[in-house]
Symmetry: C2
Subunit: 458 residues, 2 copies
């Protein structure tokens, strides 16, 4: 039986594969919110049962947080040992009122641009991880055997900083060390060009709380005499960027490399349409460092964003409170060899030094991972690129990625395993936002892509 | 029967008077939150019934918002026509977790500083309005008659900007126009000295929403390229004060008067202990304009405070969202002849001019009232001051007030009635905050004060 038979089987099985994905999407596995702990566990159980149903030796593995799902199959002596990574946890769903339907009642919908699978996690990452599971199911059904030793490694804490991941990798290094880690959590370039991500930004998460008075005060009684922590927090946030949109944390740009001429030329060749990228979300003007191109802002330059802010009265109507505290969640995207811990310390010192009398600050650490880059010298990269090009009818590209998928760096640093990041998301998938979707085309051609890649690598 | 008999009756009836106040405090009449509409109505009904129970012709009067309670009694031809004003609505109770008990399950508690009545509204303003109701109840019981024509005017929207007040005063001007309006919603000076407030700050409330992208974005995908509305809002808030803590809205200080030498001398004489005032709430350093005294910051200088801010992800854990919107509630305290509408317009223009490309702002109006001042030439002021001095054993003072009680100005401007603001709150009453209380001493001596003032004025 040839690869064409596997692809035909994938085509025939698409309705059943879609139903399986909808089943998984119905489980509200929001990892960051303790209220959904049992649902995360349920999602892991679902995956174990599904992997076992076509012959994978899979099991749920406890961690101090949400469980890992690990499975193995195939002859250890035959071909390369490949690992597939994805995550079964999803982002929170608020603001819920902006969803057109229940985020956990997924549906295949007809849209002017084609069929989409709508629901939280459809694209990030349940739909994507099911592409490789479905590809291997079809392969086994058609060929009756496995092309090589294969390991599945599915995590449930990716959206909440992966606190258990590194310890688990260390404790199970012999089991997880493979020849190549195939990671499915990225997208097509410009929603069209198949892509292998070889440059990933790191992420540093900080939460800070400014405390002024020791209780909420009446702004009429104390206003003007007492320091308002919202005013202090706003000054701090306003000072994090200068008027050229450069980040002002001392030492922040240490380790930020300039692009090689080669990569600069390749990115020019991609003819990135930043006008369309921005206008898709109602914007028109690149807001990053004024002397950088839009693709650099996204892929190769570090950033600082405020992801959340709150303090005082935020309900209906008006309350003239002078609050005791104000809070913000701030993240930094890192590139090159920027040192997350050094930047965290420099940021905290900078904030401390900006505090006026009577104000205190406390910090919580929301994780830190350095940026990572992958060399494409291993011939498996060109083999995979050729397989992708064949499936999509467009030459696949090596690209950067604005998001932070620290898993790539962990495979390299902890296990010595080369990571290869391939995914099928589109720019309008609304991941982390209301009305998340995954195109049925992404799902279908994603499954087919993995079958071709498996054929090419073995 | 003499005034001493009335005072003795007040002393004897204190337990029953306290029980009546606890009854009223059990009604959660939060005016700003539509969920408590029926409770506001219930509080009005309770007051009508209580006034009727000792012979006042009282009724509930509908408005487009919460109802007014109006009552009349006494011979129109006899002595001055006095009006008593208070408000039966209360502030929201969040953050609820900082309360030691249910805010609407009030209790008399023993504390090292004496007995206190604990519960939302105990001091602001249910406990205060019951001081004059109880004084008149005792007067009637002892004397069997009324000293003059008396009107009660109790409002249910004071904590939500009093939207129905001015129209109601205009529509019922003949009924509400009196010789003197006695307003009980203020405090003792430094929790000790009985005071008549003759200078009140005005209040301007604004809510603004900054919109950047047209949906929440993934900060990894868009961060660095897309403008973040929290960053924009923080820059705007940070720019509202200069480094001397002066407010930067153009034209803001137009109409802000300097203190007269006479008032400056009188305020120096009060020997305000701002160290203690601040240390009571965990602070040490006056945060207002650097060239002003603490009492000026509180009573005679305008302010700008952020009362609430929110945007992005504010729940447990971390979410790398780049939000579409950020919001703030901002209030200005006004003095002298500052024009609230001119300042609102100038503020909005300033914000508009600070917006970067791709950002929009929308505003909501949360009310505006100018500052007000009262002349003390009417001999009733000295009569009332003498009565207060007699009750408290300390010479009563004419003072300013940091808060905004626009009702005083409305009586002057709409009805031509002189307002006299007398109240018995203490600095540690925690009004608008968790664990609000009213000292039993404030309640008891407050009732006795009104009996003495009634005697002095008639």
């Amino acid at each position: 039986m040839s690869i064409d038979d596997v692809l035909a089987r994938i085509d025939d099985d698409l309705p059943a594969a879609t139903d399986r994905l909808l089943d998984l999407l119905r489980i509200p596995s929001i990892s960051t919110d303790p209220a959904y702990k049992e649902d995360c566990d349920r999602a892991a159980d679902w995956l174990v049962a599904d992997l076992q149903s076509f012959g994978i030796e899979a099991s749920k593995r406890a961690t101090p947080g949400h469980p890992m799902v690990v499975g193995h199959v195939g002859d250890p002596g035959k071909g390369p040992h490949l690992l597939f990574y994805g995550h079964y946890d999803v982002q929170p769903v608020d603001p819920l009122n902006l969803w057109d339907r229940d985020p956990f009642d997924p549906q295949v919908q007809d849209t002017p641009a084609g069929k989409v699978i709508r629901g939280r996690g459809a694209a990030d990452d349940k739909g994507q991880l099911m592409t490789f599971i479905e590809a291997l199911r079809a392969w086994k059904e058609v060929k009756g055997d496995w092309p090589c030793r294969i390991t599945f490694f599915l995590e449930g804490e990716e959206e909440s900083g992966s606190p258990s991941l590194v310890p688990f990798m260390r404790d199970n290094a012999d089991e997880l060390k493979t020849d190549l880690a195939l990671i499915c959590d990225t997208g097509l370039f410009e929603s069209r060009t198949p892509a292998i991500v070889t440059m990933l930004r790191g992420l540093l998460g900080e939460e800070l709380t400014i405390t002024g008075p020791d209780k909420d005060l009446h702004s009429g009684m104390y206003g003007g005499l007492s320091m308002n922590p919202i005013r202090v927090l706003s000054r701090i946030i306003a000072s994090l960027h200068d008027d050229q949109a450069r980040i002002t944390v001392p030492g922040f740009y240490d380790g930020v490399p300039e692009l090689s001429e080669e990569l600069e030329a390749q990115w020019q060749g991609l003819a990135f349409d930043h006008d369309k990228f921005l206008s898709d979300v109602g914007l028109s003007t690149p807001a990053g460092e004024q002397d950088r191109t839009p693709l650099e802002m996204l892929w190769s330059r570090p950033t600082c964003e405020v992801n959340g802010i709150w303090g005082g009265y935020t309900g209906e109507g008006f309350k003239t409170v002078l609050p005791a505290q104000a809070h913000a969640k701030i993240s930094f995207r890192l590139v090159g060899t920027q040192d997350p811990q050094a930047i965290r310390q420099s940021f905290r010192t900078m904030v401390q030094e900006m505090l006026p009398p009577d104000c205190e600050v406390s910090f919580s650490d929301h994780g830190a991972s350095p940026a990572s880059g992958v060399s494409v010298e291993d011939p498996k990269f060109e083999q995979a690129r050729a397989a992708l090009s064949a499936e999509w009818g467009i030459p696949a590209a090596y690209v950067g990625c604005g998001g932070s998928i620290p898993i790539g760096g962990y495979f390299q640093d902890i296990l010595g395993t080369t990571p290869m990041l391939i995914g099928f998301g589109k720019d309008d998938d609304a991941i982390h936002s209301p009305n998340e979707k995954y195109d049925l085309e992404s799902f279908h051609k994603g499954i087919r892509s993995w079958a071709r890649i498996l054929e090419a690598l073995t």
